[in-house]
Amino acid sequence: MGKIPPSFRSAIANIRNPSSSSSHILPPQTQPHHFPRKKPSNSPTKSKKPQKPEPTTPPPSLFKSPNLSDAKTLFDSILKSYQPSSLDFRFHNNLLHSYASISSLQDSTAFLRHIINSSRNSFSPDHSTFHILLSQACKSNDLSSLAPVHQVLNLMVSSGVSPDKATTDVAVRSLCSQGRLEEAVELVKEMSAKHNSVPDTYTLNFLVKNLCKCRTLSTVYSFMDEMRSRFGVKPDLVTYTILIDNVCNTKNLREAMRLVSTLNEEGFKPDCFLYNTIMKGFCMLSRGSEAIEVYNKMKDEGVEPDRITYNTLILGLSKSGRVKEAKKMLRVMADKGFLPDEVTYTTLMNGMCREGHALGALELLKEMEVKGCSPNACTYNTLLHGLFKARLLDKAFEFYEMMKSGGMKLETASYATMVRVLCREGRVADAYEVFDYAVESKSLTDVSAYTTLESTLKWLRKAKEQGLAV
């Protein structure tokens, strides 16, 4: 969206330079605004003027002190050494940006005034200029109020540049990056009401996502309702996906299903990604049959499943103890032309190990390697866990040595299982050795490695006293 392919950039720069004062060419460039920090690094490559690479390339180190008068002097000296007509508006923005990164908001505002005054003809501030100041205002130390933000917005309006969608977006993202969610919500409402710059769905979704993380669901709903009823900003499929993912993660599947039906009422058609999200929700609760239902529904609706769909399904089936069907799914997947990846195999191995069929999982490892899919640390840990759980000590120890020689880290679960099984089998010295490796390879913190060992040994002594263990 709005991204200009690199090959076009120089062309656009060419067009733009002659009429650098017109700010209305900007909209195609609005998306990059969302990340105003990137500008200085992007622009040197974009600017096609070979004769002045010096001032544009080193902006980060250009301003050494946050002192305003120093900055002004520096700017004037730059201006003197180049013809004003050879500088495009992005040059000024870069200067402002690099100065803003070290100075206070007041100073950078004054600096902007200075730029405008001293290069009257060649530069007039546009959206992106003010966005630099805006994001600085949002990140300013004054965390208690939105006053600096208002200040910039007022300046913007009085300079004849009216805030638009991108302005809202810049402000929201900068505020959220500082964890000022309440203020962001407040500002969005205010800007929609006052400046008539209604947020687009990207901004809305960004806010919804952040709200979901740390607010109650009802807060999110009321925010969305307000946005819709007051400003006509409607949620889209992505918004619903965010919400569904969120309620699924809190195991609230009833709400998820309600959301799905609302979604249908609103005329959205769930896509593959959304189905995957719902399926994941079911799988997390080990409800394999519901996951299958979703899969079937998906096929009925004519949505093509992707690799993630199959991985999720295999996870769901493995977790609910239906490994046979999971294996079948692996075949279906291959038939559809999706190569199983390490996640697929690891999930399936996990399922097999759950059934105590660790040797079968080991076979699967071979098959996986034959097919050219390289296992990751998680795969090995799953197998290690499985082998120890199945009390196949020789094989398990062999496998452990192999992992050790590869310098692989142990996961908490597999480490705990190893220690427990080894102690149970009366091989305390080996358990100590595993403890050493866990500490040495920094798989776990010393504390957690030790607590596991200590409590296992304590349990072992108790069991011995009661005559339950060797």
Partner: protein
């Protein structure tokens, strides 16, 4: 699963973690062994265990048993042989709960 439970136990009970990693002033016997005047229970365990390993004190027939040398005996209740199983518990004896 054990690890989760343990994690919870630790976060629920910061005191337990504290008595594992807080530095403690050592009694003279332990001070001679460790060579420091302060150490945590975890550090002490690590020290003893690495002492056992470097001096090859594990019984060659049964690795689970440690044959104590003079020095080790002085801190482990004077026992000639100690099982690895009881090592943490024996070390814990030097770190009594602080009276309130």
């Amino acid at each position: 699963m054990l690890p989760q439970r343990m994690k919870k136990a630790i976060t629920d009970n910061p005191k337990k973690l504290a008595n594992l990693i807080d530095l403690v002033n050592l009694p003279s016997t332990l001070r001679d062994f460790v060579g420091q005047s302060q150490i945590s229970r975890l550090g002490c365990f690590m020290h003893v265990w690495s002492y056992i390993k470097t001096n090859n004190l594990q019984d060659s027939n049964n690795k689970n048993v440690v044959n104590c040398d003079e020095k080790l005996r002085s801190i482990l209740l004077g026992k000639p042989q100690v099982e690895l199983t009881e090592l943490p518990a024996l070390i814990k004896l030097h770190f009594p709960k602080e009276p309130k």
